[in-house]
Each structure stands twice: as structure tokens, then as C-alpha cells.
């Protein structure tokens, strides 16, 4: 066990855990941040995605010791000053989710995509989002919501 300080959504937290513990379990079980979801534990589906330095990161395979001190954003931290991020609003406007379990990863992966490619084409969305799986198959509406958010953010 070791004391590790994490910076999540602008706040510092110190936890006493095994350094090899995947970040996901610390976020969910120690910090009560349940936006990121367990989907595979293998880095294959994206349900556990968080943002670290602007990159979409699979928290289920990222040891907590590797992200100490780095600014981590979870779904809960995406809204600013009580206002939803344009992507979240677009997700509501387009009524994207079916069950919604994967949408944490969809929204945060889209955030990382738009930060790099503010006005993506369909092909860029397909490529950028391809590793983030949805078993309800909401892909068509996700595409529409990303384009809607890109327009709002432009």
C-alpha cells in the first residue's frame, strides 16, 4: 500500500492503495466517481474512459501510480459552473443513449477527438471513435451529436 495523491476534476485526493491498482477502481470505490464504468478491464471497450492531459485514457488498465499528480477529468467534471459541456447537451438534444452504459466513454472520447479535430468529418469521427463500443448500437446518433456539438463549439 502507498499514499498516492490524485488530482481529479480540480480537486486533490490522497488514497492509500496498492500502486498497481487500476485507476478505475480508485475513482469508483474510493472517490465515489461512478461516471467511468467497468466494461472489460482489458482496454478494449472504452466504458471506463477518463481524460488525462486531454487524452482519452482507459482507466481500467492504467495503474493509479502512473497518474499521480496528473489532472484527471471524469464525466462528472465535464460540466463547468453548472453548465453542461456542449457535447453533453448535444447528447441530450440528439437523445443519443439507449441503455447509456457506454456513453461515459463515448462522450469523453468525443471530447478528446474534438479537442484535436474541432470540425471532424464522418470518416474522422468513425476513426476517432472506433475503439469505443456500444452494444445498443447508438453509433448513428453519436455521430450526429458530435457534429452538433462541433457546430456549437465553433
Amino acid at each position: 500500500m502507498a499514499n498516492i495523491t490524485l488530482r481529479v476534476n480540480g480537486k486533490a485526493h490522497t488514497v492509500d492503495v496498492e500502486p498497481s491498482t487500476p485507476l478505475l477502481y480508485v475513482l469508483r470505490n474510493d472517490l465515489d466517481l461512478s461516471g467511468p464504468k467497468f466494461g472489460c478491464g482489458l482496454g478494449q471497450c472504452g466504458a471506463c474512459t477518463v481524460l488525462i492531459k486531454g487524452e482519452a485514457v482507459r482507466s481500467c488498465i492504467r495503474p493509479v501510480s502512473q497518474v499521480a499528480g496528473q489532472e484527471i477529468t471524469t464525466l462528472e467534471g465535464l460540466a463547468q459552473n453548472g453548465k453542461l459541456h456542449p457535447l453533453q447537451q448535444a447528447w441530450i438534444d440528439e437523445q443519443v443513449p439507449q441503455c447509456g452504459f457506454c456513453q461515459n466513454g463515448q462522450i469523453l472520447t468525443a471530447k478528446a477527438l474534438l479537442d484535436k479535430t474541432p470540425n471532424p468529418t464522418d470518416a474522422q469521427i468513425r476513426e476517432g471513435m472506433n475503439g469505443t463500443l456500444c452494444r445498443c448500437m447508438t453509433y448513428y446518433r453519436i455521430n450526429a451529436a458530435i457534429k452538433r456539438a462541433a457546430t456549437v463549439m465553433a
Binding site: S34, Q98, R126, Y140
Partner: protein, 780 residues
Amino acid sequence: MNRRDFVKSSGMLIVGISVGPPFMGGQLDAQNPGPYPDPDFLQLDSWIVIRADNTATFFVGKTDLGQGTGTAFRQIMSDELDIAFDKTSCVMGSTHNTVDQGGSGGSDALQTDGYPMRRVAAEARRVLLEMASKELGVPVTRLAVSDGVISVTEDNTTGVGSLSYGDLIGGKRFNVTLTGKNTDTTTGIAKLKPVQEMKNVGKSPQRHDIPGKVDGTVKWAVDMKAPGMVHARNVRPPVAGATLVSIDEASVKGIPGFVKVVSKGNYVAVVCEREENAIRAARQLKCEWKKPATAPFPTSENLFTYMRGATPSSTGKPIETGNVDAAFASAATVIEAEYDVPFQGHTSIGPAHAMADPSNDQMTIYTNDMKSYGMRNGVAEFLKMPRDRVRVIWMDGPQGYGRTAADDAGFEAAYIAKEIGRPVRVQWSRQEETAWDTKGPAYAFKMRGGLDAQGNVVALHYDACAADHNHLGYNEHETVLISQLMGTRKSPVSQGRASLPSDMYAIPNRRSTTRVVPLPMPFETPLRTGNLRDPDGPQVQFALESFIDELAVKAKADPVEFRLRMLQASRQDDSGFKRARSIACIKAAAEKFGWDSRPSPKSGGNPAGLSDGSAPGGGNPSGLPDIVTGRGMAYAFRSQTVVAQMCEVEVNRKTGRIWVKRIVVAHDCGLVINPEALIRVVEAGTLYGLSRALHEEVKFDAEKVTSVDWVTHPTLRHEDTPERIDVVIVNGDPNPNRPDLQHYGAGETMCKPTLAAVANAVFDATGVRMRRVPFVKANI
């Protein structure tokens, strides 16, 4: 909370807030020690609560799998009650709070349960009008309701005033007894409104569950925690049918926070204080297993050969109309074809999970179980607890479209919680879920069809063989996986079934033969079959609608015209006008698609094939581009809901990659409650059918399932997304404005025809017939 407390406390909670929360999902409820009797379905108070602030909460014994049924219930019930939609909320699927309407299944929420929900809301309106009549001293006939406020009509004088529902009943009980044999027939004496008078029906209020899902505030079943809760992980047999010989508990004793190994029969779980340590313990625990003497199943490569040669465990009674043998004997052309559909997994995006709390000598299970009542009953029997000491609180969860009808994790959590006397959270791993979840049954089909000289279908023989013996996908205490692993054997075992396709074609001579074949090992098997979205529809409709396309090719007929001819060959229809609505859907889809009427394949007698030369009838691969395009259609119904799909595909002849560029879905489910929500359900469900067409197959060697993750059991991805999906809402009823237009289910029909629609489009593009699902190059 029990119901009375709920009414009391929610009344208090709501004070000062004009609009209640639209959805009051499950929450940690450790205070209420029970017992938890079933709400009485014959009491109006069990269904509707109205508060002093003129807000209403509806108690619905269904679960919303993310398709918007909760929002739709609020729409139809607020219409019948005559209260503003945004003044309503609903509670769903928790056994102690909502009447047992069975949870979800068969897409029957609106189709079946929508009617009692409308009737109880209408009855509440009737009772409130009577109360107002007494209070105001005017007959009911002179009263009108708008948004929960009753006022006197034709009364221009002031002073009589008006009364809100909240004034009349706020916080008090109706104490009105209903009639009916069961929850489906529950009714008062009020009449339902004509659908034309339903203000919220046909509008598209946003789904109330979505905001919390995109801002991270909603608590899902996976998020539940209780004081003192521990984490459990299962340890599965390394090969199917293995017997546990011994456990070396010392192998995990050193893990920090290790609590216990729980084991009975071949069921093994480890329990730790922290989740990551439970995961480690499950990997580290040394168990000795004895392999079974004989192979539990054939390999997935040999599955269809095995199925075609196996002795059936049950055979359906043949169904025959006309004189099939004579018709084949005199047919101008007879063709035959085989089609194979493998086992496909539910493979939910989130593996099975549940949290069980045994405090106060009761058992509370927090779960996303779609059939929460079945789990309550099953767990009570499994743990030998009185039923009213067990309750199941339904919460949002990852969908598996039938997976949680057999909610293994809930039973496991309850068992472990009872064993150790602490709240327990069970979470399956991805590998465990993909290997051991319930499976949609594999099918092997043989089709035979005869055409007369004019190209009309005169005979059709549908023969289906399903590997569906011992269908165990339910919340039964004797068949959930933990129970099987502990040695329980249900007897007799379920026979399973091989299903018939859904069509309204008038084919004069028709025979259907069905049989079920067993795999060698019927219990403790990872090839346990369960109800995968429209349990057999995608399989059987793939065979039928592919073969109809083959017959159209043989008849040199346009596939749309060919089908319409068979639908219009008879004037007979059923009570729901399914034949008329089938015609309407196909015509609507063709119009939206811009269907080019011609026979398939596109290139006529010179099909493109794949560039490795796998084109039937030769072709001229070298002269053609790598990417070829084609269009195809298929149609299906489920219960009364009718769907026609048309799609345009691009096939890369070099790589074999199939991309469905565009899909049109014409959908008739009768009265549409929420069109925008429906469109999204249909879009996503159609892509789900596409995933099963293009990617999904459970693979196994002779001792274990080898599909264990998203690499070995692939799924549709963003890259497969069509450029465009058009959903056309059809009302093909011969009397489309009937005041009692029925509302039918819409959760499953759309994924039935997709496999054949894509297969037929691939044939149109290439001349290559898809006979084996999924349509990966190795199967073409």
C-alpha cells in the same frame, strides 16, 4: 421505504418544489427492515399517487431497458389522468413498490401493460371528477379537466371555482378497489379516451433518464454501495463440465483484505474487502478441477455438421397447408438452400453484477434485472427465505437484451451475502461474461421452394433445426448458473424450440418442420441458451427472407414486386390487419429508398463475385472495380409489429468487407406514443441486427468457449455505421383513424429482417449468396 412511507416522505420531499423528479429510480434503502408484501394490484393506490402540489407518480411494474418505456408510460397515463406531463414521475420495477407486471420481456410494455396503466389512470380521473362533483355541488357532466384542474363548464359566473387534483386527494389514499383477474386485466369502470383526445401521445418529450446518464449523476446498479460491503468475484471451471476436486485457500490468504472463499459443488467465489484484491484473488486461487470424461460439445467449426446429424430431443408437429408433395412434383422449377446461424452471445457491454444486502434478516438485491419480480421469487426459493423477506430494487444497467432474464449475479450476490452476513457486490469479468452468459440458439435450416412457369411460388418447405435443448435463460432457482454449478438438475429439462418465420405471404402449399437437437452436455454449460433479443427471429427470418430472395432471382422478378405479389395474392387478413400493414410497410420503404425495380443480381448474368474468383456462374472479376454496390430488402413481423428494411451495401471484393451505406426501415407498431424515441430505438435495433449479420459468433473448442472478449467475439463498431438511416413510421391500418388504434411493442422486430436484407444486398452486388452468419470472408 414501504409504500406508505414512500407516499408520506415523497410528499414531504416535494413540498416547495413544483415539479417532482420525473423518474425516481432505485436508491440505497437500508432503513426499511421489511417485510415487503406485494402491492395489491386491485387497489388504485398501488398504481398512482397524487400529492398536494398536484403532481402525480405512477408505479409501473415494468423495467426500462433504455428504450424510453418509462417516459412513454408517463405520456399515456398523464393523458388518461388529464394531468400535465411535466407534473408526473414514475417508479419502475422494484418489487416492494410496484405491482408485479413481470418486468420486461417480449417488448410487451406498451402492447400489453400499456392498457391496464391507461385504465387505472382513467379510473383515477373518474374518481377525482366524482369527488369534485360532491365538493362543488355540480354534476360530473358539467365538469371539465385540464392539466389536473377540474372546473365547471358552461359557467361564466365566477365563484363556483375550480379544484385541483391535489386539493381533492393530495397525500391521501383513493381507497378504490379495482377488478380484474390479473395485472393485465386490471380495470376500474372508467372508459379509455379515443386516441385522438390523447394530447401527449404522438409528441416526443425527451426521455427522462437521459440527462443523468450524460452528466454522471444517475446511480446505476453497478454503483451501489452499502456500509460494510465487500467485493466478490467468481472462479469458473476452466473447462465446461469440470468437477471441483479441491481448493487451496492458502493460495489467497495473504492477499490484503481477504475475507473468504465461498464454495459449494462446482461454484466458487472469492470475497475481499477491496475490489482489486477480489480480482487478484480470483486469478490467484488454486483449484484442482477434474475434466469431464466426454466432450461437452462439438467445436464451433463442426457445429452445423453435428446439428444436422444429431438425434432430435424434440420434434415440432409438422404444419402443412395445401398439398405440398403434389405441388413440388408439378412445379416448373424447384430449388433448395441451406442456411446456418451460429450461437451468438448477449455480450452486454457491462458484465453481470448485483449488490445484495442481508441486513435486518431480509435480503435486498440492487440489480438491473429486467425481470426483477422473477428474481425476487427465484432468490426466495433459492435461499429458502419467505418471499416477503426478499425484495429486488431495479436500477439502470447495461443492456443485454434478454441477458438479465437469467440474472446470475443477483442470485450469486444474495447467496454470498447470506453466507457471510455482509452486503456483497458481485461483478463478473469480461471473459466470464462473454464465455458464460446466456446464448441465442444456433440454427441450421434447409429450405425448398417451387415456382410455376409464371414464376409464382407454389410450394415452400421450411425446415429448421435449433440447438436450443434445455433453454435455461430464466430467473429460476433451479436453473440459474450458480444453482446448476451447485448440482441442481431441473427435471424434466426444458425442450426449447425451433421457431417459425414471420410473414403474411399467400403460398398455397406450405410445410414447416422443426426440431431441437441437444448438445452432449445440457447443464453447467457455457452454451446455455436464453432469450436473445427476439429469441429466434433474426435466425429464422434470415433463412426465410434469404430464400424468398433466391426464389425471386430464379423467377427473374424484382424482390419487392415478388413479395408484394405474394402478399396481395390473398385478401385474408388477421384481426390486426397484419397483411395490409405488411404491404404498407414494404411500399413505404420502397418509396423512401427510391427502390430501382429490377431482378437481382445487379450485373445480371455476369455477377461480380469476390476478386478471388468466388463468384457462382463464372463472372468477370478482372474487369470490375474492387468496390461493388447492391441493394436488398427483407421484411418481418413480431406479434403485430411489422418492419420492412431496404439497404444499400458496398462490398470490397478484395477484402470481403461489407459496409451498409444506407438503410431505410419502415415500421408499423400501431399507435406511436413517442415518435422521436421510437425512431432511435429502431435505428439502434437495426444496427444491432447488422452487428449479428456482420460480426457476431460464439466460438468454442471441444471443451470451452474461446470467445472471451471483444477481439474474440467482435461487435459492430463506429466504422460500420451507415451514412444514413431513415426510419419511416407507418400506420397501415385500413382505418388509420380508428379511436382505439392499438399500440404494439417496438423493441425487437427491427432486428429480425436485417440479416437477410444485408445478405440479399450483398448478393445483388456480387452474385454471392450469404449462407452462413456472420458474413465474414471465411464464411462467404
